[in-house]
Amino acid sequence: MVEMVNRPYAGAFEKFAVANPDVLCLSADLTSSCEIDGFRDRHPEQFLSLGMAEQNMMSFAGGLGLAGFRPFLHSFGVFLYRRPYDQLMASVAYPRRKVRLMGFLPGITTPGGMTHQAIEDVAVMRSIPNMTILETGDATEVESICEAADSIDGPVYCRVLRGSVPRLFDTPIEVGRMRELAMGEDVLVVTSGIATEEALRARDALSGAGVSIRHLHINTIKPFDPQPLLDHIASVKKGVVVLENHVIDGGVGSLVAEIMAENAVGKPLVRLGLRDTYAHGGSRAYLMKHYGLDAAALVAGIEKIIGAKTGITEDALAVARVDAVHSAVKAEAL
């Protein structure tokens, strides 16, 4: 059984911020939902409540950056770029302020429906000059996201997991370095965020079916050094499958596609994610299945690449974890 860590961000942020007095904790009325309620109560002098007013918070953070502080903004991912996009551009990204955007509930990890689901955030952030993008895929990455983000000389957007998070890795995020989780030679599987856990669910079934998988986990989406990826693509016989908790346009799948095209890599690529559609409200497991973001979808993508059925059935995939929507580990509200 995989170890589950409860609210890894809460302790990690507190430890980091306390050791770094120029780090400020900003919140937009989602304090417990972003696991910084304990920090607010214990370190009020380092905490700034900005209310439900994200546009103001974004430019305000730009000003704090100008004053030499390194603000960490906490909200759901969607509220850190959709409404305050113009402010993000002018007050933060252009002047390269050291503003750290901590975006919780990435993609379909929220039951809140379209208005709460950041499904195109990576695409948006990838197209913003000066922006760095990090994404957490397990508890260890969440625990190390503050150091990683704060090591960036400029603005950074992070997709942060909250609540009960599995521990998949035992080493912290190293910015710019992908994780090599399997070194097989038939198909290259590239995943980020929660998609990595899905791919791991399919691991045993795939090896049982005789498919040799090379698996990369991406935690630094931008900037991205293409060479290691190209080397891995060169090492597999068949092709590449990317699975991400995001629309297939503009995210990690697009990143891989661009690198392959620019380097004339003539191998097939399958991009898995939301296909030009909004999602709706529902549990994470349901949404992953409904929109083809789960282990079964990955197996189907791999079958497309190898041009054969693996015979892997739903039952052969490791059991998906199901968090009760109202379970105790889930932070208040949404």
């Binding site: 304090t31 409540s49 709460h116 709706h280 529902g282 929507v325 109202h326």
Partner: protein
């Protein structure tokens, strides 16, 4: 719709349903029923001119998002009656009030009680955060602060077309922290949009707790007036006061009714939770049992039968 129940009874029914639902589901947006029951009852039961529902009493499952070729797609507006010139439209701007809004639909005979059983179930259209396709929702509002602008645009358009139906936006006070709310009032006043009115649940609460501790919004009535609206402040739990406020003349200006509410009205037990009331959850089985007994008694019903937790 004929008013089979008194508005007072509808309000009580809303509290009972939201309470029962929250007990069974280990928590919920319970305090919003306390603060807003009279307001939503008032809107649906008497203030709005709505036609009979055009959608089935038992909501259909989620039929996909808007997309070219998806002919199945419908918004939840049909639960508020047909989109005809003489009828009013209603937007529930704080979409997390959906549970309270669904309970209101049931109490006013616009949705079957089965609808609430589908709340937050996978594949259901009765979503936790009301979506555009959820019963009674006409547009997406889960990102707070956009409702009044959409309402103003719709109202302007209806006025231009000579339609007599009005546009009402039910709002939450957290929305006044968003700049867009003020841009909306400014535009509505500038263009003299007087077929627009808003009823705001001023419960002084938001996710992080009491609003003045999170981001003080000060005298919002004065602000609304300065921005060009006619603004009336009333006790949210006094139906006659709501009726009077609705009758306030506002020619050439939008009307904003600030309904000053208590987030524990009708469920005094919740006072123990002050100031963290946005989403009420039970910390222990004992607490849940205690709450079940106390609130049921205050609402005049039997405690909700619960399976072992």
């Amino acid at each position: 719709m004929d008013n089979r129940k008194s508005t007072q009874d509808v309000a009580l029914g809303i509290r009972r349903r939201v309470f029962e639902h929250s007990m069974r589901n280990n928590g919920g947006y319970l305090s919003q029923a306390c603060s807003a029951a009279e307001q939503l009852a008032f809107l649906y039961n008497e203030a709005l001119n709505l036609g009979d529902p055009t959608l089935p009493a038992i909501p259909k499952p989620f039929a996909g998002v808007p997309r070219a070729g998806n002919d199945e797609y419908v918004t939840g507006a049909g639960y508020n009656g047909p989109f005809e010139p003489q009828y009013d439209r209603l937007f529930i701007a704080p979409a997390h009030y959906a549970l309270v809004a669904y309970a209101t639909l049931i109490e006013t005979g616009r949705m079957a009680p089965e609808g609430l059983e589908m709340f937050n179930r996978d594949g259901s259209s009765v979503e936790m955060i009301g979506a555009e396709h959820s019963p009674g929702m006409e547009v997406h509002n889960g990102t707070l602060g956009i409702g009044l602008s959409t309402g103003a645009g719709l109202a302007w358009g209806r006025k231009r077309r000579g339609e007599t139906g009005k546009v009402c936006v039910f709002m939450s006070d957290g929305e006044v922290q968003e700049g867009q709310t003020w841009e909306a009032v400014q535009a509505a006043a500038h263009h003299g949009i007087d077929n627009l009115w808003a009823l705001m649940d001023v419960n002084d609460q938001q996710c992080d707790g009491a609003m003045d501790s999170v981001m003080d919004v000060r005298d919002i009535a004065a602000k609304f007036r300065t921005f060009g609206a006619v603004c009336v402040e009333v006790d949210a739990h006094d139906l006659d006061a709501l009726r009077q406020a609705k009758a306030e003349p506002h020619e050439g200006q939008p009307l904003i009714i600030l309904a000053r509410s208590s987030p524990t009205h009708g469920m005094s037990f919740l006072q123990r939770r002050f100031p963290r009331l946005h989403y009420v959850r039970f910390k222990t089985t004992e607490e849940r049992d205690e709450m079940n007994a106390a609130i049921a008694e205050e609402l005049g019903i039997q405690p909700v039968e619960l399976e072992a937790h």
